[in-house]
Structure formats: C-alpha cells, structure tokens
Symmetry: D2
Subunit: 348 residues, 4 copies
C-alpha cells in the first residue's frame, strides 16, 4: 500500500535524526531553555525578519491552537473561523473545552475574507442584545487552508486592516505553512506573515520533523506569561531541546523550504494527471493536498494500491477524495500514481 | 557542569534512536493506529499481566494527568492528592483549568495512606452541607513520589480497599515508575499495580525515551472514549508510531528495568556517600532522587561543578537539595561527585 | 410606552406576592429543603404524572441550561441544537464556558426533527476520524421554540425514538412551556413530555413568577448529585423557599395554565389583526410570540406607542418584528394595538 | 424550633415586599436596564463615595464570586484566599469549574494579612520553576470573614499596599458587609472599602433582601464587558428590576445599616450571655455570628428548642457551635435563648 492519505506517514528528515544522534549524550536544561531552542529561535526570528518576536516550540497543532486561543481570549470572547477551520471541526472540541465558542463563517474555499470579518463584527455590535452573545475577539485563519488554498498578500493585508479597525487579534495556523509558501500562487513571505499577523505558527510535524510547531508572537501584548500557558495546556516538553534541534535543522540552509517545494511539486504532478484526464478538482489547491472528484469505480480501483481519504460524497456515483503528498513523498510513488490515473477511463 | 538537576537532561537510549532510524522511511497510519503502537501495547499488557487492559501513549506527564482526571470526574468532583503531589503543585493549575479541584491531604513523606483517604471521604459525607463542597471521587498517588519514596504492596492494597469501600477511583502517576520498581524496598510488580489501581501510567520521558507516557486502564468503566479525551487535550501525536517504537524498545528484553536499575544504583552510591559523611537526608528515598541536607557552604562548593536543585530552606545555614540520577547517568560523574562529597567537611 | 418587547416586563402574579407576604416571617431551612419547595415538587410531579421524578428549582434559564448540560455530558461530548436554539445564540457562550460545543443543525421553523438527529449521529459515527470530532450525546429542544412554534406529540415521539436508537439524551427547554401547552395546535400534556424527555424544565420567569425554572428529571441516570451541580453553577438560592412558594402557587388550582392561556389568547388576537390586514407572518406561531413582516414605515408608526423587537431585516423596505404577550398583558393594550394595526395602510 | 442556624431563614424586610407590590404592574426593560436599578446604582455609588464606580446586581454569592474571579484572571492565574474562605470551601468548586486554582493561606481568625500576601507573591516569583505553578494574581478577602471577624482600616490599607506593590488585584466578599460595618470594632466606611479594594460586593441576601448582591467595581481596568460575564455565568436576572427595587429600598433612609445594627446587637447580647456564664468563644466575633464552645450535653439541651450549626469538634465532650442572628431576629427569641444559656450549668 502506497500512502497518500496524509502528510505525516513517515518519520523525520534524516538530518534531524542525525542531529538527535550527535547530541544525544549532551546534558541540557529542560523545558526549552537549552541552546538548541535558543539557536532555533534566532533562526526563525531571522527568517521572519522579526527580531523582537517571541518564539516558542510546542508538540502538536491542536495543543498549539488551544494554548494560543486560551491565552488571548477573555471568557466571554470567541474566535472567528471558517466553518471548515481545523479548530471548528477536527479538534474534538478542544477550544470549547478551554471555554470558548468558535464563531464560524461560511466559506467555499476554506478562506475567510476581510468583509466577512467586518460583517461579523458589525452584526455583533449592532445587535442591542450583544451582551447575550459571544463577543468576536480573535480571527483564526489557516494558511494553507484545510482545502489546500492559500491567502494572497492582498487578502491578508485586507484581513489585517479589518482586524485593526475592529479591534480583533489575527492568528494564523501554519501547520502546513511551508506548503503554502512553496505554492506557485504564493506572494507571501514569512516576514509578511510576521508583519500582518499578531501571532502564527510554523508547522514541523507535517514538514520534515518528528513533531513540533513553532509559535511566533509578534504582538507584544500577547507575549506575557505564555510559557505558563504552554505548561498548563501540557505542551511544555521536558526535553525541549528535541524541538530546538528539529527546528534548528529545518531552518538551516533552507531545508524547510526545500522539503516544502518537493511536496508541492509532487502534488502538482498528480494534479496535472487528474486534470489532463478530465477529472474535476473540488478545490483549486496549488499546495500538497489535491481534491479530485472521482467516480466510485475509480476510487475502488485506486484503493487497491493507494491509501487516500474519501472526503465528501458528490452524488451516487462520485465522491471527492484527497491525495496528500509530503516532504518525503517518493518520486516512484508519484510516477506509479500518475500512470494509474492515466489508466483510468477518461472523464467525459 | 555535570547535571544532576533532573532526570531528563539527555536524549534517549541509543536503541530507541536506532529503531527510529531503521523505521524512518516506513509509512504508517497516524494517531497510534500503527503496528509499533500495537506491539508496544501487547508488550506492556504482558508486563502488567493485564490482557484486557487498554493501553494508550501520550507525550508528557502534565498532559497525561489532566487527560486522565478530566476523563474520570464529573464537574462537581475532585481528586484527592498529597499536598506535595505533582498535580497539586507543578502543573500550573492544569487540573483546575479542566474544572476540578485538587483536594490535598497533608503528607510528611509524599505518600497518602488508606486511613487518610477514608477520613477525607467520611469528612465529606458526614458534613450535612456536603453538596456545597467538592466531592472526592478519585485518589491520585505517585509512585515513586515527588520525594522519592515508594508504596509497599501492603500500603497499596490498603489504599485499594479504602477506595473500594468509599467508591473512589485510584490512579497512579508513574512518571518515574521504573525507579520505584527498581528500589531495594520495592515489593510491587507491574502486575500488582495493574491489579490494585484503576488506571496508571508508566513513564518513558524520565526513563530512556525521548518522551512518552504509557497509560494502562484496567477498570473497564474508564475505557470508553478515552481517545477522544486524548485528542481534546492535545495529546494525540500525529506520528504516534514514534511513541510505539519507543515503548516497544523499552519493553523488549527488559530494557526498561535495566535502565531503571542503573539510575537507582547510581543514586544509592551517592546516598551512601552523603550518609557516610554524616549528612542527614530529608526523605528516606531509595530511588533516583536524593535529598541531602547540606550546609550552604557545601552547596556553594558543589555548585561550581554540579547542577542540582535547591529544594527547601532548613535554617540560615542549611538547605535541602536534590540530586537526580537517571538511566543515562555516567559512572565517572557519580565517582566524581562521591569524591567531592567525601572532600566536604564532615558533618558533626 | 406599551411594552410588547418581551414576556418579562412586569412583576409576578398577585397571588405570588400575597403568599410571599403571608409567609415572610416564617423561618425555613435554606437551599430548597423547606416545606414550600417540597409541596411544589409534589404538585409538579403530580401535574407531570411522574411520581418518581426529581424536581429542582433554579433561578433563570441560562443557568438552568448550563447546569443541566454540564451535568449530563462528558468533556468530549456536545449538545445538538437547532442553530436558532437559545443555547446556541443567546447565552454568551455559557455552554462553551462549561466546556461543551453546541452542535447546530439547520432549522427553518426553530424545531429539529428525528431524521436530522439520526443524520447527525450517523455522520459522526460513520466518519473514520470521529474521535477528532465532538461526539453528539444530548439533544436540546425548546418548546415552544424561539420562533414560537411547537412540537406535536408525533414529532416528540419520533425524536424520542431517534434518541433511544442513537443512545442520546433528550432535554427540553420549557422557558415558555405554558405558552406551548396553551397553543391551539398543542396535543402534548406535561405527562407526555415527562414520558418522552429525559429531563426538561417548566419556566416560571416568563409565566407569572418573579423568576424561577422548575427542572424535572425523569431519567434516573441523570439524578445523581444534581444539587452539587446547581450549587457549583451558582443556582442554589439561599432562600430557596421563594422558589417553592412561587411554583406552589402556580401549580395550585391551575393558575399556571390559566395565565398561559391568557397570553396565548392575547397573541392570537394580535395575529388575527395582522393577518386580516394582509401582513405576512415570518413563522407560524400559535403561541405568545408573533413575528409579522412589516414595512419600515409601519414599524416607525407603531414604535411611537409600543415597544417591540426588530427581529430581522427582510429587504430595504421590510423587516420582521416580534410582538410578545404575557400572562400580564392588559386587554386594553391588545385592543389599542389591534386598532393601530387596523389603521396601518393595508398590505397589498 | 427557633432558628439561629443561618442568616437567611426569613423572607425580606417588609418595605421591600411593599415596594414589589406597588411597582408590580409597571412595565420595565429587562436585565438591569430599568429605572430602579439605575436609582439603586446612584444610591450605592453615593454611599460608597465612588461616583465613577460601576455597580451591578447579581442574585447570589457563589455566582458573584465566580463571575468576578473569572472576569479578572487569565487562565494560568489563581486567587489567594484564607484556607477558610468561602470560595475555598463552600462553593462546590465553582472557582475551579471556571478554571482557576484557589491558592490558600493558613489563617487562625479567617483573615489574611499583608505580610502573608507579600510572602505568597515572593515565594512564587523567587521560585525558578514558577512557570510550573499557578501565578497569584487576585487576593480574595471576606469582611466580615466566615468566622465573624473583621478587618481594621489599618489592616485593609496594608493589604492594599501589598497588592499594589505585588501587582495583585484586591476583591472583598461582602456577603455580610453590613454586619461588619455595624460591628463595635469597625473603623471602615463603605468609602474606605471602595477606595482600598479594586472590586467588592454588598450582600443583600443575608441583610434584608429576598436575594441579591451589589457588585461595586472601582478599578476602571476591571469594568470592561462585565455584563457579558454576568450573562455567561447565569447571573443576569431577566426581571432585573427586582434587584433594583430591593437595593433601592435598602439604601434609602439608612435601612441597610439599621437592619445590620439590629442583627449585631442581638448577637452581642447572646455573646454576653455565653461569656458571663464562662463559655469560651472560638473566634472573637463582634458581628452576627457567634461561635461558643459548648459541652455536648449543653448542645443537646439547646437543640431541643433552637436550631444552630455544629461547627467543629473540640474534643470528646465539647464542640464549637455557631449561632447566627440576622436583620429579622426577634427580640423574644434572643431573650429566650439568653434565659436558656443562663440555665445551663456554668462552665468552670
């Protein structure tokens, strides 16, 4: 079975394992106060052109989202998200478990737009009974989104302006950050993101690390006591240096973007194969997730050799599926898949 | 600087890193559904003589305690703990953040006893206003405790009986489980613990793993939906196999107990050095943590070469300190320390 | 200004104030353990033909919903509600603040139907990643709904069957219970509701009391420790007898239904006036809330003399408004309003 | 049975019931936006010499404490309290249920002192692992305390200074505020309290009202969005005017202090009877709660005619009991009790 079902099927980039081996016997202070974390922080701040930012390392995405949101909001405040946002759907109510409502906005492409944010804000404050409703205070976006789409610089600037005008904090879930930055559509740099978001994170789990997410806090008002929050939410790894070593390796010599580009290139090859055979794509993703609409008989055929996610039923004969590539996707697996796509009966 | 400040200063046992390397390119399903987790589960159930137990792998101790406690309790219920219990002191209020009060009992040695538990239960239910107070429903013990002491089989059996009589659930925090089992005082086996506790966990972070805690649920009533709880609390590692591989390695060929014995032997050597020089010990620990009472001038001297934790002020001239050994403590570091202890001015 | 803006604009039915005066100097035990609460419990159990039910008195609706939901659910579970349900919109995130997600279903008329509940249940359990999502465990309905509509006996029976089949608990928010029971469409009795719901409450605040909601728990599994939950959520009134006296008065000699019928009759008179003048109604409410669609110029005219709620914009020239009657609505106010409706320019 | 078991055994002062009757048919806006609340706010701000304060009315004490504390703290912060504080003992974990640890300090007399607060603050911040512990951020005191004792102006000023120096917020639970102010020992005015606390509340439930607590927020930083918090915690009474009418009545013509003095005078008469017969008092209370130490045979005798609370076991033959007076304690009941105390066998 060749796995295209997610972007965390393998271990870590070999350089990371090598570095873990090399440093294994060294003794370090715990909880992220070691020299590797310090070095990784410096590299990331430099990559983000954000010398005064705070950088923290957490283990996983759900943990990171919960910790960030709980740190920013007061109890009566909620976080605005696309209805398809990870926090709204796939975190077993972690945000609610820390006391906050996810205020969802409709979305076709997984993104939310400045005008929607302004609308949600106005709707709340114009309602004379607004004190009976959850107050929108934070805007959550993922880039790339859960549908593989990305924000343009213009769109992010507009969101930023909307947040400033409405006194809202803007956070970006970058669990797949590199795959967005490596997209052919992308015109954002990490520095742009650091400038336009109050806080965001750069995902390692899905891009070359064993695990790990690097939180970057650029808004000074959000920095205070964040390590307490990480500890309370169970994210302060005792052997924090493992996170430092991983992010140091990823952010040295451009490895993070190199791995990201590999995944995106593989995905675009697969996308081209679907398109050239007349298959429609559910979302216009230029990143590592591809969502073709397949006939159920095609799904059955491909399932014998490949694992992938059945995303959504279209009708009795068709479904949307998801193929994921990653930093570790093998060229021969992509070739095999392309050949098998070409062998499917062409969509009329 | 030679570090005796904690038991998580180094990386992982080399076998673990080797296995991570060997399996690195394999593709696995995520979230603990892989064959390594399955194999590790089988090994642990066998080690615990608990074929029907559920075994889950989480990343760290605070996360594990919070997840377990939140899973067991209803909102008006609390968890009984020694006042020195990790959950009562050192988790930044994680238990309270998930809604529950830690009901503390006084303790000289870090342990709580059956009679105390019966007393707390009686005090609650005999009070006519008990509905105005948090209901004790779960008993938390750590073994070894935060002070390095351990429970005897008799003590644990008594606690078990008290819990049964009082309709209380019994959980054991085994973040340093191996170091307790390797203690010369110990008469408990993992099978005893599995038989006497409703749920417990076996720590990996402090005993040879990069990180990881293995939860063993033996009480059938506590098994339901536990994976939802792990996910909600941010503990469901995407690349769950990393946890599986680590615990598989630790529980093959007796590695876990071998590493544990090494740490305890090192600690007992250090203890002997303190005792033979007339230094008093704050707690009677036969495990990997030692708490000698030192003159401040001794502390100053040793601090130049060793890092260790200053635990508690005794008076103007003396303090309790903590020396921790671990699975990776080097023989030459122990010898050096013993020599330097012998060189201290003898306690009268 | 004549107020039709809500159903809690006045004080309490005079009988209630009389009884408070008569009993004012008596000394009672606190927290609902007095003879008036006991008597009210007996009357309500009798009215519900539910001799083994537990009855508790709380102060307000948000408090009651939060307490009930927090008592029933485990942390990873959520409550299914119409998107328009009070708990989903108008409680400032009280449900989320106690840790639970409100899982909303679309609804045109404020009701949810058995098939929707079965669908939500199936969708959750059929998803292979269901552990990453909030588990539906409780179904919340309001009767009458926030739109004034009511459930038929058949609909409630179907919901009951769906809940049984899907292992879901069924709760009914009866903040306006009497106004539903007094509706001409209604074929439900309190006994039916007690038989078909696991737990529900009978609102006093909006029907003759100064304040107060009577919770009726018929499912034995939900009874345990409920008074702890009330206390924790701040709902255990010290002078609990005030609640007992009010519900005793309301449930003696049919006062509760008498007051309810008065409100509904008044509302139907107003509805008839709107309809006979060609005004459309947004919802087909036969209870105390009426939702006519008015031209903005009509709204302006009526606003000079009456207060009412502007509910929703229809288009540039029209809006939905809400007129509420209550147990204390004065006949002369209804007549005046009818005359003023008749004086509006007839809708074409 | 004559009840001295608590201070909420009767209804409300007759003036309050009269005013409820007089205003019963008036129509008011809901949720505290009516003219009676407005008038009560003005009277209270005037009584506190705090023209810029925000005043809110809630229903009960547990609710008020929870709402205040949840509004002030971030998730990793806790509230410092005497171990005997109401929030630490008698609110079924309401504070923990909203996510916060109660950090208890030992106390002999129910009070905490500036030096203790400074000590707790220093202990936290001096610990190098402070991020692993709950951060003290709010100081809770009750005046009078749960033991009937009161703070002097000097003590409160010292607490204030400590809080300022340590960047801590100071809140006062005044559930029995009037009984403290009416104590012969008292040298505090409401204006002093308003000047020295960031937020406090004035209890109505125990001093003449059916129910109700008036929160006074003097620290501007704590005012924002407090009504959202009240709503979320279930404390925003629909017919808010009932609270307004009650506090307006209590704060007109000095009724609140008149009622308070009556209770305290009654209590001091009872205290004198115990003292003159040689009975020791557990706490030196000059307020409405008295805690004599009685022989169990005395308790048995008095229990036939009076209800009172058995507080604490002293030894096999003696216990501490609590006698509570209130605004409504009848002179003949006090006389009867005094006679019966005099008839007890004199303590040697």
């Amino acid at each position: 079975m060749i796995r295209f079902e997610n972007d965390y099927a393998e271990g870590a980039h070999p350089h990371i394992l090598e570095r873990l081996l090399e440093t294994n016997e060294e003794q370090s202070p715990g909880y992220g106060m070691d020299k590797y974390c310090e070095s990784a922080r410096t590299l990331i701040k430099s990559a983000c052109d954000a010398p005064t930012a705070d950088v923290h390392f957490l283990v996983g995405g759900t943990q990171t989202n919960t910790t960030l949101i709980a740190s920013v909001l007061r109890p009566h405040q909620g976080v605005v998200s696309a209805h398809s946002g990870h926090i709204a759907v796939h975190e077993t109510g972690a945000i609610e478990a820390s006391g906050h409502k996810v205020l969802t906005l409709p979305s076709e492409d997984g993104k939310i737009y400045a005008e929607q944010v302004r609308g949600a804000h106005a709707e709340h404050w114009n309602d004379p009974t607004h004190e009976h409703m959850v107050q929108p205070a934070l805007v959550y976006i993922s880039n790339p989104t859960e549908f593989g789409t990305t924000y343009s610089k213009k769109e992010l600037e507009n969101l930023r302006k909307a947040c400033l005008d409405c006194d809202l904090t803007l956070m970006m879930d970058g669990a797949r950050m590199g795959y967005g930055l490596a997209s052919e559509d992308n015109d954002l740099s990490l520095a742009d993101i650091a400038r336009l978001c109050d806080v965001f994170y750069i995902g390692g789990t899905k891009i070359g690390a064993l695990f790990g997410e690097a939180v970057v806090i650029t808004n000074g008002a959000l920095k205070k006591d964040f390590r307490y929050m990480i500890k309370q939410k169970g994210g302060l790894l005792a052997k924090g240096r493992i996170l430092g070593i991983q992010f140091e390796t990823l952010f040295q010599d451009g490895l993070y973007m190199e791995l990201s580009r590999h995944a995106v290139d593989s995905a675009m090859t697969i996308r081209a194969a679907f398109e050239s055979n007349g298959f429609e794509l559910r979302y216009d993703s230029k990143t590592n997730q591809q969502f073709p609409i397949l006939r159920n008989m095609d799904i059955e055929k491909l399932s014998k050799k490949y694992s992938f996610h059945t995303w959504e039923t279209v009708n009795e004969t068709k479904s949307v599926v998801r193929f994921c590539t990653s930093w570790s996707t093998k060229a021969e697996h992509v070739s095999a898949l392309v050949a098998d796509i070409n062998a499917l009966k062409r969509q009329p």
